[in-house]
């Protein structure tokens, strides 16, 4: 693994530097910034972080950092931002008395002291805010799925590359301990050549309590919440959290959890950077209410050279339930989604794929023989990102890989919306032979919330 090699080299360099310092009588302490690469914080530097979107998931991300990297002195949360005043006040209080609060994330981006931002906003903001953050020189952790359209993804990749910032996307399943075990098991050919990854998930919900449009609550800046989306009147069923069940802002389970389960698949299959040649979806729409993401769904992704198939099935009875675990073992708390890997010598099943990733017993108990291949073991999703910030190494869920996964979910939904099979040209990053679908690769954004 290239990432491992780079990581080891950095540690070797650190060791050498400290040893050299000791030889000439310097203390072992390495001052902040001393080892920094140009434009990057030093190995021991505490990174100042701003949080954009601190409601549901964003608040969770903030607490994860406060309780982890901040406690270790590696990060400091100096600013939070939200379009909802109540949520903003709560988050600012929880982050500490010196934490600045903003409604407009662009104030946060203007601050030169902020090195990195964590973005926990709804999906329709991910691309615009990531691009803006990169263009102001900030490193970015952005929640999954990376983007809502094909063109957004291209812009995110370009922004990361052109501004030389580290972007980590929150498909944190790749960083879970049992994901490492599954990856290692597959890479060592324990089920042979994998020809089918069968992803499963329970359905997206139906809006069974629809309400008419109304005035937004006084604490919410509705226009700013919409941001890049076309303007429309407020409806209480858009948020909080329920944006996930709208195709334009969340995309349903395939985009929410597909960005986890398919992320594991692309990583473990060594398929990052590749894409399907065709995508074909069928499904059922919610019969009423505001939400329009597919309730039940079946998508087939056909890959060539090497030939394999990935399927995504959303249905009440999709997939096997989690196997029982012994006392003291990490319990499977979410077994309603995951994937079955079909190889020519057997199968492997995992559940979850996000912050909870579990794999079946035979994988956990497998002891690699001498000479077995090893794979990259993430130190944790935030920690891997911080390594990326400090060393310039590719993060485990770098923006190129994340956009590749998001594109799978986008194409699946496009095929569902249009009711027809799509042809995808991975090299050109384009849909072919379908003018309407091609136009839907982008969704022009409302000014000034543009890429």
């Amino acid at each position: 693994m290239g990432q491992q090699k780079r990581s080891f080299r950095r540690r070797d360099f650190l060791k050498g530097t400290v040893a050299a310092g000791a030889a000439v009588g310097f203390p072992y302490y390495v001052p902040s910034g001393v080892l920094a690469q140009p434009g990057r914080p030093g190995a021991n530097e505490c990174i100042t972080v701003g949080f954009i979107g601190v409601g549901g998931r964003g608040r969770g991300l903030m607490h994860e950092m406060l309780g982890g990297l901040c406690k270790k002195g590696q990060a400091r949360v100096v600013a939070v931002c939200d379009v909802d005043e109540k949520r903003l006040a709560t988050a600012a209080r929880e982050a500490g008395p010196e934490t600045d609060a903003y409604r407009d994330y662009r104030y946060l981006l203007e601050r030169k002291d902020i090195v990195a931002v964590v973005n926990g906003t709804p999906d329709h903001w991910h691309a615009v805010q990531t691009v803006h953050a990169a263009q102001t020189g900030k490193h970015v952790y952005v929640e999954k799925p990376a983007c809502c359209t094909i063109e957004e993804g291209k812009a995110m990749v370009a922004a990361g590359r052109d501004n030389k910032v580290s972007i980590q996307v929150g498909s944190q399943g790749r960083s879970q301990p049992e994901a490492y075990l599954a990856h290692r098991y597959l890479v060592n050919g324990m089920i042979g050549r994998v020809n089918h990854v069968e992803c499963f998930h329970y359905p997206s919900p139906i809006d069974d309590k629809p309400v008419p449009d109304s005035d937004p609550p006084p604490d919410l800046d509705w226009d700013f919440w919409l941001g890049p989306l076309p303007w429309r009147p407020y409806n209480a069923r858009y948020l909080p959290g329920t944006f996930r069940w709208l195709l334009e802002s969340g995309g349903g389970q395939i985009r929410d959890r597909g960005a986890h389960v398919m992320s594991c698949a692309m990583w473990w299959m060594g398929a990052d950077g590749t894409g399907p040649v065709t995508v074909e979806a069928t499904g059922t729409s919610p019969p009423k209410g505001l939400w329009d993401a597919a309730v039940n769904m079946h998508v087939t992704y056909t890959f060539k050279n090497p030939d394999w198939v990935m399927t995504w099935t959303q249905a009440p009875d999709a997939g096997p339930r989690g196997e029982p675990r012994k006392a003291g073992e990490d319990k499977i708390t979410r077994d309603g989604y995951g994937a079955i890997y079909h190889g020519d010598k057997g199968t492997m099943t995992h559940w979850g794929g996000d912050g909870g990733t579990w794999v079946e017993r035979k994988v956990r108990e497998w002891v690699p023989p001498a000479g077995a291949k090893d794979v990259y073991k993430s130190p944790g999703h935030y920690e891997d990102w911080f390594e990326g910030i400090k060393t310039g190494k590719k993060t485990i869920m770098n923006i190129e890989a994340a956009v590749g996964v998001a594109n799978l979910t986008i194409l699946g939904n496009l095929s569902f919306i249009l009711g027809r099979k799509l042809k995808w040209n991975q090299a050109k990053q384009e849909i072919e032979g379908d003018e309407e679908a091609r136009r839907m690769m982008s969704r022009p954004q409302r000014y000034p919330y543009v890429l």
Partner: protein, 186 residues
């Protein structure tokens, strides 16, 4: 299902029948466009939603490869409704529908919509999406005729279409929204 049955089911009180109607509206085609846009102005939320979704089904069915004549017919009918000045909520949807299937024929009507402060962002988005010299020409003309505060938005569309617009600023990074929340959440 014909247009009459579609409209009747969408206006009816039977939720299951309404859902089946809009979900299967695609092949009903151009004949149902104008009647559906009338139902899209309904004051009943679920009726309005069902009519809107039915019309989207028709647009996406017509937009399939090999059905260019169907798409042109649907586009022409949508333009006729748009030119008649429907309620803003209906016009919004039509602009986005045209963005997916329309050609040159939609560019002038969408260009006229750029004069409406309520609808111009939807029209601009549609013009940005519709390929060809005509849509580009409408956007270029709008850049000079639009009020100064709207020119940056037009410029964004032109840049997306590959036109260099060096003299018009892009305020995307300029903060504007103020909070009343103080440091530490006070």
């Amino acid at each position: 299902m014909n247009t009459e049955q579609l409209i009747s089911a969408i206006k009816g009180k039977d939720e299951a029948a309404r859902a089946q109607a809009w979900m299967n509206a695609g092949p009903v085609g151009v004949e149902a466009v104008a009647p559906l846009t009338e139902v899209m102005a309904s004051t009943d939320t679920e009726t309005r939603r069902a009519a809107t979704r039915a019309l989207w089904k028709i647009v996406r069915h017509a937009g399939r490869p090999g059905a260019e004549q169907e798409a042109a017919a649907v586009s022409a009918k949508l333009i006729a409704v748009l030119e008649a000045g429907p309620p803003a909520g209906v016009a919004r949807e039509i602009a986005w529908m045209l963005s997916e299937i329309a050609g040159d024929e939609a560019t002038a009507p969408l260009g006229r919509l750029l004069k409406s402060t309520e609808l111009r962002e939807h029209a601009r988005a549609a013009l940005q999406r519709i390929p060809g010299a005509k849509s580009l020409g409408v956007l270029e003309a709008a850049l000079t005729s639009a009020p100064p505060e709207y020119q940056p938005a037009i410029a964004v569309s032109l840049r997306c279409r590959g036109v260099d617009v060096p003299d018009v600023r892009n305020d995307k990074l300029k903060p504007t929204r103020q909070t009343t929340v103080r440091k530490g959440g006070k």
